[in-house]
Assembly symmetry: C2
Homo-oligomer: 577 residues x 2
């Protein structure tokens, strides 16, 4: 029996669901609507189109075999009817009818459905500040905006830009403007650090430092108060609470929210923050209406609570699952780890699960193992340090998250993806200790970075490793009289020299790692000894040795100077280690 | 109470166990023996040392902070006593005594232990053929051999080389000789394909094709019968059953076997193929004797049977677990997926779990989904096709393995590692459909390659996708009269042209994908229609459409011409797609 399915929204979840459904039920009528004229595009590719890495916007709307995914493509190749420039105005759930308006004619029509799929996506927040509507102020809400931004840049109309919002999209846009076009770009973020919510503050600090090396001017903890008018309705700059930033172009990337007005007006259940509620089969509170993509709430595998994960990749997976269920073939979407990865110039930053800060907030007995191993065999040419952190619950030993910052390659993908697979299954520190990572020197170290981080976590849980919190240590160095501490630097004496000169040999002592068994009696009494090396590994070994000698007032600087050297700390004495 | 632990073997599992144990039990006496003078080296790095990528052999024996891991390093930095050039002759389990011989003096001594750890590793097979002992014939059994090989090459004494054995080490050695030193290198493998046991034959074929592009002469299905003497005791070549290959250097890399003579002589349980049997705590049949690393048998997560996985990475993990248990802190090593990855010139090949061929042999209701997606967003610069195959059991829908062949970067690591994490947990096709892979265009496609492969597998299990076995199709093309088939090539007509010319438009028809809904009645009756495109995706969609039109005599060429173009098939009409 043929059925009629209407899909509202044609960017990611919608097209995926439409095509899958047509394959599962070739006789059904599938109608996909979108208020836009451009559909089925890779929104996450917008920064790379703006930068010029992607030469034409149509590439974002094309298949891998170079066909543009427009109305006629869906109709001819896929057998899915498409109406663009068609806005859904309301849903009559009793009559099973969607009222639509054709934007080009203004005409309205009632379309009946057997099953409805809401794939209405997300929309960017607009800051409600004076001047937000000036010409030259953009959100990244659709491809038209991106086309217009690139047109202005290519026409030489942009020499200075301000990006408001230090999340992934803001940072990617800042890179696009700076790196490829040489535009003097400022990045303004209200929170005191970049990527709020996604990573811990020391990871955000490393990213900030790298952006600044690449000449992005980063202003965190700063709030955009108004846009400055050039006198003729175009933007001339941004006024923050701290300064005036000139700009011919302003991009607002301050987050997105679920587009759920239609659902709410139809009386479907939505969360307090506006996301459509669905069950694991992606059914809304009306069993004839499904929802998928950036408009829905999903479940965190870590907290088991509602979360929001607007990502094209998840939208595609959900679109397929919604189609399966609509077609009568049960499938479930269980939840998300909220994996995240991004390129920032020459660096990659990625994470999965939740951050340490989030884990504390959630009430876990949270802690983190911060490490700085090599991203492949340390003797292999091109190897680089990666900063890797495992977040865990001390009591249950469950791993709650992983964060990584390193060189721009796929090695962080490997760790984040493997971790996500385990975290979704409730993996423990012990599972991460034995997690099998494919090994050959060009790809990994014999003890993989992810195993090494788990080893540190295990040693912490078993109280074999006592560490100083990175932030505490940084505060102590900034305010030398705050605590009676001395750094015991176990690296090669030549590496220690600049620190000993800066802080004095009393405050920053050199006892090389391999001499500790002979020289441990030189350690001062009655002071906190902070054991310091590049990665934290030698410091831990020294701590264990000293404990056995009953010298227990030591703390390890986990991650070591490899972390500090990347954070833009003023007193750091050398190059990036 | 202090205890005395003796560790026999000081390459990977031994040193890891020794250092961990000393940290867990600082008061215990840990003595590590090795018959070699060089210890604690990264054996997997040998090809990169021979190639010159790693400039000095000491780098393979150094820590990441550039200290050489020799006897004095272990003693001073780690507090572990080391005796090199010390061979364990026998174990008296009743007396708990190891009889050792000091190779430099010939002197023997009995050393008593409370607990013993066998980390005796593996040793390479030597082919029992005439001339195997000639000067210039090497196995890669230790660092001394590698040093000697590189010395000869650097001195200009090698212009032609033969590598016997087409496993990972043989291939890596062939690359080292060819790529960096320009030595004319032949690779001889007894089996009809490279990497026997590790990947399926079409993956091996793609690898072979690439090696040949890089001017390695590859002879598979060929057997080395004898070494040719140059008349003065040095090797001058290899005689195979097919030809004579000149060589100044011959490397035998025909596999390794567990070094377990000591264990067997002491009456410990060993497998029929010579590996030491251990429980999950890595205890042998004598509860005072543990074993770890390349000398033990372990359990396959896929088959649940004994398997052999000699790898430095696993040896390190096992060493740590053995130490934990010896120290009285329970830990388990549950088994392996046998993940594997290697660089071969500009390509990477990796796998985890078992191959399709192995799965059939093991009695699974095995099948495989062969795909050829992009390794990142198809619009992102530098993206490349990766050939990815999921092996699964049709009945249980359990995923049994993953194989991948693509560009030399870390993207295959990400897929192999994430797959291994799931396979170890018994993951199903549905788990792989929703596996969360971190997404941004520089790292992945919105529908990740691993999800896409799982989608294909699911469609196969649900009988929505009927495919022709790649090997059947290749045989049909080679012998045109064998079956009454016609290729329906749904790509752009320009892409189809060379095939239509070669095979005739009757045999290789062009009906573009997007025209199929209008033109399907042109399809011939009474013949098997093989649906062909680059990746198999369009072909599948067409099959589903034709099924609905009751045209059911079609088969999809999974993976499409992307796979065939990489296999060195003679009739392939274009460049690598």
């Amino acid at each position: 029996m043929s059925r009629k399915v209407i899909i509202i929204g044609a960017v990611a979840a919608g097209p995926k669901a439409a095509c899958r459904l047509k394959r599962l039920q070739p006789d059904w009528d599938i109608l996909m609507l979108d208020q836009d004229s451009l559909i089925s595009y890779g929104g996450c590719g917008i920064p790379y189109y703006v930068s010029g890495d992607v030469s034409d916007e149509s590439e974002l709307r094309s298949t891998s075999f170079h066909m543009v995914r427009d109305k006629s493509f869906f109709e001819q190749a896929k057998g899915v009817e498409v109406r663009t420039r068609t806005r859904a105005l309301s849903i009559d759930r009793n009559q099973k009818v969607v009222r639509v308006q054709y934007l080009d004619t203004g005409q309205e029509e009632d379309l009946s459905y057997d099953t409805l799929l809401l794939a209405t996506g997300a929309q960017p927040f607009e800051l409600p500040i004076p001047g937000a509507k000036l010409d030259g102020v953009f959100t990244i809400s659709d491809l038209h905006k991106a086309i217009e931004i690139r047109k202005r840049i290519a026409a030489g109309k942009v020499s200075k830009a301000v990006v408001i919002g230090g999340g992934a999209i803001g940072i990617e846009m800042a890179e696009a403007l700076t790196d490829l076009w040489g535009i003097e770009t400022s990045l303004v973020e209200l929170e005191p650090r970049l990527l709020p919510g996604a990573v811990d503050s020391h990871f955000a600090a490393m990213l900030k430092q790298h952006l600044e090396e690449k000449e992005v001017r980063v202003f965190t903890g700063e709030s955009a108060l108004s846009m400055i008018d050039n006198g003729s309705g175009s933007v001339a700059g941004v006024q923050t609470n701290m300064r005036t930033l000139e700009a011919d172009l302003v991009i607002m990337a301050v987050g997105v929210r679920p587009r759920s007005e239609l659902a709410r007006a139809a009386g479907l259940d939505v969360t307090s923050w506006g996301a459509i509620k669905v069950n694991q089969r992606l059914q809304t509170s009306d069993s004839s209406i499904y929802a998928a993509g950036d408009c829905i709430a999903t479940t965190s595998f870590v907290t088991r609570r509602e979360t929001y994960a607007p990502l094209g990749s998840l939208a595609n997976r959900q679109g397929r699952i919604a189609a399966d269920n609509i077609a009568g073939q049960p499938a479930v979407f269980k939840g998300v780890c909220t994996s995240f990865i991004m390129k920032a110039f020459d660096r990659c930053i990625g994470a999965t699960g939740i951050s340490y800060e989030a884990a504390l907030f959630e009430g876990f007995d949270a802690d983190y193992a911060l490490t700085s191993p090599s991203d492949r065999a340390h003797f292999f040419p091109g190897q680089a340090i990666v900063i890797l952190q495992l977040v865990f619950d001390r009591k249950s030993r469950r791993v709650l998250g992983l964060q990584a910052f390193g060189s721009m390659n796929d090695s962080i993908s490997a760790r984040v993806d493997a971790a996500a697979a385990l975290i979704a299954e409730g993996g423990t520190i012990e599972d991460f200790c034995t997690l099998e990572m494919a090994y050959a020197p060009p790809f990994a170290a014999a003890i993989d970075s992810i195993n090494a981080a788990a080893y540190v976590a295990e040693n912490m849980c078993d109280n074999r490793l006592r560490r100083v919190h990175l932030n505490h240590f940084l505060r102590w160095v900034d305010n030398m009289d705050s605590e009676d501490w001395v750094a015991i630097d176990v690296r090669h004496p030549k590496e220690v020299e600049p620190y000993a000169q800066r802080f004095g040999a009393e405050r920053w002592m050199s006892i090389p790692y391999e001499q500790m068994r002979d020289r441990y009696q030189e350690l001062p009494e009655g002071k906190i000894c902070i054991l310091v090396c590049n990665a934290g590994t030698r410091s831990y070994e020294v701590q264990v040795f000293l404990d056995a000698k009953d010298k227990k007032d030591t703390l390890v600087l986990c991650g070591g100077l490899n972390v500090i050297s990347r954070m833009g700390v003023s007193w750091y004495g050398g190059k990036e280690v």
